[in-house]
């Protein structure tokens, strides 16, 4: 997100899900869409059925590959080299959109220079994708009237994740695939309201609406609205908090509806960090792995019990309505947060807590949703920006201009950066992690669903048949998998879904937590952790 915000001035999906079926070309990189965003995946299949061409770039043979015109099986961690080489070909063959570049972008000359070394032949050596396939991809993508790029954590959870996102943005800019109904850059958000949590200011440097805490004018605006003096110092990101807990800079944490003890890379490190806290509050619907470490656990409400809104990946704000009452003494989360607030600052929190009113307060502070009110959100809701009460919402961004100073999108030079920890003789396999269809994140909800847990009941490690043969591993055999950070036992799934020398473990299962193994190396800009690449050793269990 940091990557797109730098280039375009905004870091959300530029287009709408509904418009996917109007793409001439779809370029899916680092997104196992049919398993992680199944309904967006349906639109992609619909586009292909309607004649669109689909390029899939993924080290794994994901289900979408079956529908692809071209599959680029690049090595994990080499996304930006692949993208740069595609752009190198576009320039070499004169396929760029000169008018768009001249009218709507800046930083072009320097950017062109930065691509010079990324020839398809150089990229073949780094990525493992044949130079001719890179050329083919360039021609397909640049030849489209409307090309959409779709990506997810597959390109962002790397130490060069921000670079990867910038390379994706460069590719769309170079070919003029922005500011159109069915052409753009679309990060697919992994959780129901990750877009909304960002929008609402649950980011250490941003107030609601991405207004910077370090900007004095913004600070003054929020100080006036909230009647409090506020800190101009950006806070710690979740990934930085782990270190701060261990160093003693962070003494108390309030964790609400998250399970970082299982979702954080290098899990044993983060568990140690939570244990080092003086005080930990966890508010959740289940006794999660994180809640087990807490000093106080507060029982919250599930989505079926609450009133409010979620914002989907396509910036669509939609209503959530209560259908049932919470069990026992569990309370609505809004009421719980308000109770804490009232005790901490009785004067400031002396309001009746109602979802509609809090939404209106947020809308009064962020022009992007100023035109939204609950009665306008019936049915399919509205997509931001929606600045006035008669505004119909925005199905695609940047039609006229980019919300940056000067109104233009910025080309950025993306250098060749190598993953933090690559396989070596001691840890010869590259581990990549992700989700599977039947489970969701740390499984707090899905693993308590009988059917889902029956459909996908136990953890596994995907290993290529060639590697399995060398190690003498048979399908379903229990293996020991270790990295420099930890070790787990998990059953083999011998499969050509993964290429040779690459293994995959879904991170849903606490009994064989993939994040015991993953690395907490950070992207220097977005502070995302490198969950998609680390080095592991795979061994048979002693008989």
């Amino acid at each position: 997100m940091a990557g797109l915000a730098t280039k375009f001035g905004s870091g959300a999906m530029t287009n709408s899900v509904e418009g996917i079926s109007r793409n001439d070309v779809l370029f899916v990189i680092g997104s196992n869409t049919t398993e992680n965003h199944p309904i967006i995946g349906l639109r992609m299949k619909e586009a292909v059925a309607g004649g669109a061409q689909l390029i899939v770039a993924d080290p794994r043979r994901i289900p979408l590959v079956k529908f692809a015109t071209l599959w680029l099986r690049h090595r994990p961690g080499t996304d930006s080299v692949l993208l740069n080489a595609i752009m190198n070909v576009i320039l070499a063959e004169g396929l760029e959109d000169k008018k768009f570049i001249a009218d709507r972008t800046e930083g072009y000359a320097e950017f062109v220079e930065s691509l010079a070394t990324f020839t398809p032949e150089f990229a073949e050596g780094v990525t493992g994708v044949a130079a001719d396939d890179i050329r083919k991809a360039a021609r397909i993508y640049a030849g489209a009237g409307n090309a959409g790029i779709y990506y997810a954590m597959g390109i962002t959870q790397h130490t060069m994740g921000t670079n990867n996102v910038m390379a994706v943005g460069n590719l769309a800019m170079l070919t003029g695939n922005l500011g159109k109904d069915a052409a753009g850059v679309n990060p697919l958000r992994g959780q129901n309201n990750v877009q909304g949590a960002c929008d609402m200011g649950c980011l250490p440097g941003d107030y609601p609406g991405y207004q910077k805490v370090s900007n004095p004018a913004v600070q003054a605006k929020f100080e006036k609205a909230w009647g409090k003096s506020l800190s101009p110092k950006p806070g710690l990101t979740a990934s930085e908090m782990t270190g701060a807990m261990l160093s003693g800079d962070l003494r108390a944490m309030y964790i609400f509806g998250e399970n970082p003890a299982l979702s954080d890379p290098n899990m044993s490190h983060s568990i140690k960090a939570f244990k080092a806290l003086d005080f930990l509050v966890v508010q959740d619907i289940f006794l999660t792995e994180t809640a087990e470490l807490a000093d106080v656990v507060l029982p919250g409400a599930s989505f079926a019990e609450k009133d409010g809104t979620f914002t989907s990946s396509e910036r669509r704000v939609q209503r959530v309505r209560p259908a049932i009452a919470s069990p026992g003494e569990a309370k609505n989360d809004l009421a719980i947060i308000h109770e804490v607030y009232k005790r901490i600052d009785p004067a400031a929190a002396a309001f009746d807590v109602a979802a509609a009113e809090l939404f209106a307060e947020a809308a009064s502070l962020w022009p992007g949703i100023a035109g939204m009110q609950y009665d306008r959100l019936e049915g399919d809701g509205l997509q931001w920006p929606c600045p006035t009460v008669d505004h119909p919402g925005t199905s695609y961004l940047f039609q006229e201009t980019f919300p940056r100073e000067g109104g233009k999108a910025l080309f950025s030079n993306v250098p060749y950066v190598v993953s933090d920890e690559l396989p070596d003789s001691e840890y010869p396999f590259l581990l990549t992690t992700g989700r599977e269809l039947f489970h969701y994140h740390t499984g707090t909800m899905t693993r308590k669903s009988k059917g889902l847990n029956a459909a996908a009941s136990e953890p596994f490690i995907e290993i290529n048949p060639a590697d399995a043969a060398v190690l003498g591993i048979s399908d379903a055999e229990l293996l020991s998998v270790s990295s420099r950070r930890g070790s787990i036992k998990v059953k083999a799934r011998v499969s050509d879904i993964v290429p040779a020398k690459v293994v995959f473990i879904p991170f849903h299962y606490k009994e064989a937590a993939a994040n015991m193994l993953t690395s907490d190396a950070l992207d220097p800009i977005s502070k995302i952790m490198e969950a998609k690449v680390c080095a592991v050793r795979v061994e048979k269990q002693a008989a």
Partner: protein, 348 residues
């Protein structure tokens, strides 16, 4: 636009519309069993037959394009007689056990039997006996109730792109099954369950729960991924008994296995029902009252703030929870406590 006449009414319809679509635009009711506007026309059930001036025999309106000046009759004693015969034939090979069928009240075949007043059946005779083999955790098949409309096969192929099931055999022996009657390669999205017009495909999780019309519907938004699908929670008391999705919303009624069948966590006995407090370091979490828990939180946060400053406190908000909760949470951290240490799992 083209203009045509249906049942003596002048009607405007877009180019490429079928006669059925044109009639439905004009709110003229033509019964169907195998039609779903989200899929290609199929022409299997023969219920949508209409007379078109100049054509000797009735044609299926779902597969006939509307043309300029066409004159269509959708209902006549002859057409209704033919439709009634079709329904009778379907019912002659159907268990007709509506009293114990989970789909009663939400069944197109039952509605048609009611519409045509079919009590005695002229065609009663042999009935198919399908052996049911169900080794999956989600979908309940009762193939004796299948009317071979093909909606399940088509949704799996046209919409889901999976093709887990197809047709086998001919005539009376016709069957819907996975390849070679084994190797079910299914994503359990339940799209087939949602389009089945009878009780042939239902969900195992619905068994023993009230039927659809005994449940209270609530429109809301799915809690899983970022697709933002609209869902309807069907509840009975404080229990979520079913999840469905309306076909006129932005996700067109399609859901995935998690959204459609992954709802039983809501009523899980493992839900937290009371605040818990660890009264001493290293001790166990014990149930506590709300006031005790909230007072403890306040006093501990206040004392950390006094001793180490507001930046010694941090908060993680939730990408699973609502905008309003997240807004209030960051306001609590920023304005209430005085720190910008607030983030969430956007990076995980």
């Amino acid at each position: 636009m083209i203009s045509l006449t249906i049942d003596d009414k002048k009607i405007e319809a877009p180019h490429g519309a079928t006669v059925l679509e044109a009639a439905r635009l004009a709110k003229i009711d033509i019964p169907t069993l195998c039609h779903d506007p989200r899929m290609k026309p199929f022409g299997a059930c023969r219920l949508c037959i209409v007379d078109i001036a100049g054509l000797p025999r009735p044609v299926t309106s779902c597969t006939t394009p509307a043309t300029e000046g066409m004159v269509v009759t959708t209902s006549s004693p002859r057409l209704e007689r033919l439709r009634k015969t079709t329904v009778e034939l379907l019912l002659s090979d159907h268990p007709n056990d509506c009293m114990v069928c989970i789909q009663a009240g939400d069944c197109s075949l039952q509605d048609l039997a009611y519409r045509y007043g079919i009590r005695d059946n002229r065609f009663s005779g042999a009935v198919r006996q399908h052996k049911r083999v169900d080794n999956n955790p989600f979908i309940l098949r009762d193939q004796d109730k299948c009317v071979l409309c093909g909606l399940c096969v088509r949704v799996c192929d046209e919409v889901q792109g999976v093709g887990a099931i197809g047709y086998a055999n001919r005539g009376f022996e016709s069957d819907i099954c996975p390849p070679f009657k084994k190797d079910l390669n299914c994503e359990f999205c339940g799209q087939c369950v949602s389009v089945c017009p009878t009780g042939a495909l239902t969900a195992k999780m619905w068994v023993g729960q009230p039927r659809l019309d005994g449940l209270q519907p609530t429109e809301t938004t799915c809690t899983y991924c970022g697709c933002g699908c609209n869902v309807t929670l069907h509840t009975h008391g404080n229990k979520v008994a079913r999840v469905s999705s309306r076909s006129d919303n932005h996700n067109r009624g399609w859901l995935c296995v998690k959204g459609r069948f992954g709802y039983d966590f809501i009523n899980s006995p493992e839900r937290l029902t009371t605040p818990l407090i660890r009264r001493q370091k290293g001790g166990a979490l014990e149930p506590a009252g709300w006031d005790e828990a909230l007072d403890l939180i306040t006093s501990r946060l206040q004392s950390v703030k006094e001793q180490y400053g507001p930046d010694a406190i941090g908060g993680l908000a939730s990408a699973r929870c609502t905008n309003e909760e997240n807004y209030l949470f960051q306001k609590l951290l920023r304005a209430g406590i005085g720190t910008n240490n607030v983030d969430h799992c956007a990076r995980y």
